[in-house]
Symmetry: C3
Subunit: 243 residues, 3 copies
């Protein structure tokens, strides 16, 4: 996987046309004109984050860093589910190695995505629950299609989100809304999510969402990347230290 992704991303800054590969679980396409990478999760049916998908996401983010991409659009191949979160079977398996590996990857992905030097947008074209919502909170901007749900519903199944994720949600929607959302494990419909600020924009279709995502990323076209990434590190650093 690492090799395949590396090859894709070599095109990030210097390819002469759009490039696309269909990998097993994560597809990466780079627009050679803009330098924006579209990372599509494709682990049917619900992009369950098992160890294999987590490994591929982690390697993809590493390659994006190395290749100094100019922006990331994170989305799903499914038209129903963005991601249903961490595969519950990974956490229930008797093999404790797999459990600790799973959790290590979740933390590493958080640190890489939440702290990425390049700007990031989640195009939420399906339900984004638990770990799926985590991926969107790690992004800088969230664009969601209508009639889906989003939220950290951990308490509903007897679990509790990590403190660093709670703090990122507080940063996004404020303290009180975070308390309401997390103690009840609320899943918000698109319009409610927009209202409380859990998503930033609503799109009518995936195509519309991708256009809006590129518009967001284009805001940074003339910002010196070094200044942008240091500023982002100052904004999000404390939360990354806490992981």
């Amino acid at each position: 996987m690492a090799l395949r992704t590396a090859r894709n991303l070599a095109y990030c800054l210097n390819s002469i046309r759009n490039y696309s590969t269909n990998g097993p679980l994560v597809n990466v396409t780079v627009n050679e004109k803009s330098g924006f990478a579209t990372v599509t999760l494709q682990n049917p049916p619900v992009n369950s984050m098992n160890l294999e998908l987590l490994t591929e996401i982690s390697h993809t983010l590493q390659q994006l860093e190395k290749n100094k991409c100019r922006g990331l659009i994170l989305t799903s191949a499914s038209n129903k589910v963005f991601s249903a979160g961490i595969d519950i079977f990974e956490l229930h398996k008797p093999n404790s190695d797999r459990i600790s590996q799973t959790w290590s990857f979740v933390q590493e992905i958080w640190i890489r995505l939440y702290g990425s030097a390049y700007p990031t947008v989640a195009v939420i074209n399906g339900h984004a629950t638990a770990g799926g919502c985590l991926l969107t909170l790690a992004s800088e901007y969230r664009i969601m299609l209508n009639k889906f749900t989003i939220g950290l519903n951990e308490t509903q199944v007897g679990l509790t989100p990590p403190t660093w994720l709670i703090d990122a949600m507080k940063n996004t929607i404020g303290g009180k809304q975070t308390e309401f959302a997390l103690t009840a494990g609320t899943l918000f419909e698109t319009e409610e999510a927009l209202k409380i600020g859990l998503v930033d924009e609503v799109a009518q279709s995936k195509h519309d969402a991708i256009e809006k995502a590129e518009k967001f990323l284009n805001k940074f076209k003339r910002i010196p990347p070094h200044a942008r990434s240091i500023t982002k590190a100052k904004l999000r650093g404390a939360n990354i230290q806490a992981v």
Copy 2:
């Protein structure tokens, strides 16, 4: 008092009918169907928090913890004043033991109520000033009747709220509104309080407010209490450590 309260609360989870006692300063009623306790402050005329009332509130919260109640509705027997806060005479008395005892109880009540495992609602059926507002900020949800005022007006009388209370207000209404409110010691009318988020809902009558409070508490009916209380501890823990 402790004994009486304990007896009341034994009914919290296993009573076969509603139970009610009229104690001297705090009345506790448990709805056997829902498991929700209604705690009514009854220290006329303004529910002044003297050492006696504070002692009763503290013991009540201890009993609620022990009896694993499913939810708390905190309200006033008066139809004009929720609570006017700490009895100023306790703080002005030459007896320094009483002053330090008073303040210890306020801190203890904050820790128990703000950090309670069970969900909490304040039904604000009268003015809630200073320590009265503190009790509502310690709750998870605030429902207020029209034409009353709420706020931490300490600076108006030459005092200043403790840092942990300031932080809880920031968490509720944000940094800027907290600065405006606390430097001026502002008392907000119901509609203003709703607008800045100091209260969450407005009710037309106490009956209406109690119904709304039960609706809020019912949100948690199917949430595993253990996951809920750990999540709440993660959300509010730092603020409790700081007391």
Copy 3:
């Protein structure tokens, strides 16, 4: 300069009529009735914060403290620019003494203004960019005239704001809006700034703005200054410690 300012401010509490001097870079007028000082920056054409202006601002704030003024209105003599921020030539000069002196003054001004005992208002009667915006964020209340821009646009020129300034912006407009604003170095038009809470009120003219500023300061007329300043220190202290 110090002497001149000291002489002005001696009138702060006990002068019998309005007093005004025209100094080289900072003009101070004290309204003897209200006790409010109006501090006007007058370093044409854009109130560039070079070492000389910074020195005068710092001394002015010291004198205001000493003379226990009742309130500060900070504004510009220009009708186009509030302040364009730190003079970029100070930061590019080969003389490192001047660079470190400049930065020391910026920090000292932040500590004095952000942490001032007396209430403060910025009357933003022109563009307020970078260090200009910093002065307004250090104030307690922001009143802005139409058709100007405000913001921390450091990243646009390859720089990055200090963490304590980022935290003050978070406190003012919340975490998410701060991320959007700072990673893109956004300059907000008056109406947008009002919408996200970066300014608190819009005025139709400088005269209108001054009236609104006095109205804000008058809110504190009957608040014991000691309680107000301790409360403010509790609200803003952590951010000052971090400088």
